[in-house]
């Protein structure tokens, strides 16, 4: 009976994922498409949970659905602000309530066909693979030498630490690329739009209530990543969300892009990771961690990575530094 129930649940979940994906691509209104994309991300996180990949489910829910969704909502808002309802560029005109853009059918059909094609190809390739045991055995054999009890963390930070180092550098490069979009005269300012939250309003209260829980959860996710699902990326995303909330509630201004402190925090993660790797290279293996000190060194790398990831993700969402006079102040910006 429970097997029937779990199979039924899986089938319904698969149908929901496909349905959300189809709706995300066929909805005409851009904002609606982004909302369906976020819903799709949540369903995929549930699917990862059903497959037993809890770390991936956490990362999908936090980064795939949450943070990417936020980035895309910001992009849609920016697009709506700079173009009229019919797509023409009227950034010089008087303020109007931002109208979400609509994608014409001619652009949506090729996108749907491409997505369907990739899905079919991936599904066929997956079904054509011969079932293999994978790397679970070798990872389990070497888990003791890695100093952590969670095999995913061991793979991410120890056995395949090279990939994680490159990932953190890519994040930093994305932020540098985003900041390079700022106009020359805006360079020394604070990133993102001016926040207009009322001083004692609902958002400000929320921004005072939530951060203690958020900080606790973020730090816990990083700490527990050594022996249970969790880790630097998941914890870092929660911390980024807390910082974003505090900034959006008007309780703290975003840092100046020229501030040395924020640059130190951004660079700390990849730099410490790279430094430890180079020290290991002097001893014989690049990014090699001797089993005796593996646990504290892994923890050090994780803490540095978490801080960098949190700062980078929050600044990515905020956007490049902007002069406040550049944008019309819409009533919708007031909260």
């Amino acid at each position: 009976m429970t097997e029937l129930a779990s199979n039924g649940f899986d089938l319904v979940l698969a149908a929901l994922i496909l349905g959300a994906a189809v709706f995300a691509m066929s909805v005409r209104d851009l904002f609606g498409a982004v909302v369906f994309f976020i819903v799709y991300g949540v369903f995929v996180a549930l699917a990862w949970l059903r497959l037993g990949a809890i770390d991936v489910a956490l990362a999908e829910a936090a980064l795939g659905a949450g943070l990417t969704g936020m980035l895309m909502i910001g992009a849609v808002a920016r697009l709506a602000r700079n173009t009229g309802p019919h797509g023409e560029d009227d950034s010089e005109e008087e303020a109007q309530p931002p109208v979400p853009s609509a994608t014409p059918l001619a652009m949506r059909i090729p996108a749907m066909l491409a997505a369907a094609g990739v899905s079919v190809a991936l599904g066929w390739a997956f079904l054509a693979l011969t079932p293999a045991a994978g790397l679970r055995g070798p990872v389990a054999d070497n888990l003791g030498a890695s100093g952590v009890a969670n095999p995913v963390t061991a793979v991410l930070l120890n056995f395949r630490g090279w990939d994680t180092l490159l990932e953190s550098v890519v994040l930093l490069a994305a932020l540098v690329g985003l900041w390079s979009l700022a106009r020359d005269q805006d360079w020394g300012l604070r990133p993102g739009l001016r926040q207009h939250a009322r001083a004692n309003g609902v958002l400000a209260t929320f921004g005072r209530l939530l951060p203690p829980f958020g900080l606790l959860l973020g730090i816990y996710l990083v700490w527990v990543g050594s022996y249970q699902p969790g880790g630097a990326f998941q914890g870092g995303t929660v911390l980024a969300a807390v910082w974003l909330l505090v900034m959006m509630a008007g309780l703290m201004p975003p840092p100046l892009v020229t501030s040395l402190r924020i640059r130190a925090v951004l660079v700390a993660g990849p730099l410490i990771f790279l430094a430890i790797g180079l020290i290991g290279a002097l001893a014989g293996t690049f990014l090699g961690l001797p089993p005796a000190i593996a646990k504290p060194v892994t923890l050090l790398i994780e803490i540095a990575l978490t801080l960098s990831i949190a700062a980078t993700l929050a600044l990515l969402v905020l956007g490049p530094p902007q002069s406040p006079l550049q944008l019309p102040s819409t009533p919708a910006a007031a909260s």
């Binding site: 004692n200 309003g201 958002l203 929320f206 829980f213 009533p331 919708a332 007031a334 909260s335």
Partner: protein, 105 residues
Amino acid sequence: MLADTITVVFSAAGLLFFFAGTAGIIRFPDTLSRLHALTKADNVGLGLLIVGLAFQAPDWQSLGKLALIWVLALLAAGTTAQLVARSALSRRAPQAGPPAPLDEP
């Protein structure tokens, strides 16, 4: 066995409320009434669902986590509903600007 029955009953009641809330979102005429359906019905539905799940919790920590989830969901839903409502009101009357504080929270 009794715990399972209670869980099913409460979860079914919660699902009914979610259903009603979704029907409200689809059928109500404007943003503010849709927000009513969204927040009231969905929060009660979530509460009933969590009460139902509480009977399956193996220890006090899980119970505490479920209660914390409910409180956080309530907080988030309430805050976002207020913000969306304020934005909808000011979009309706853009000349008036943000409305006078008729509800100081």
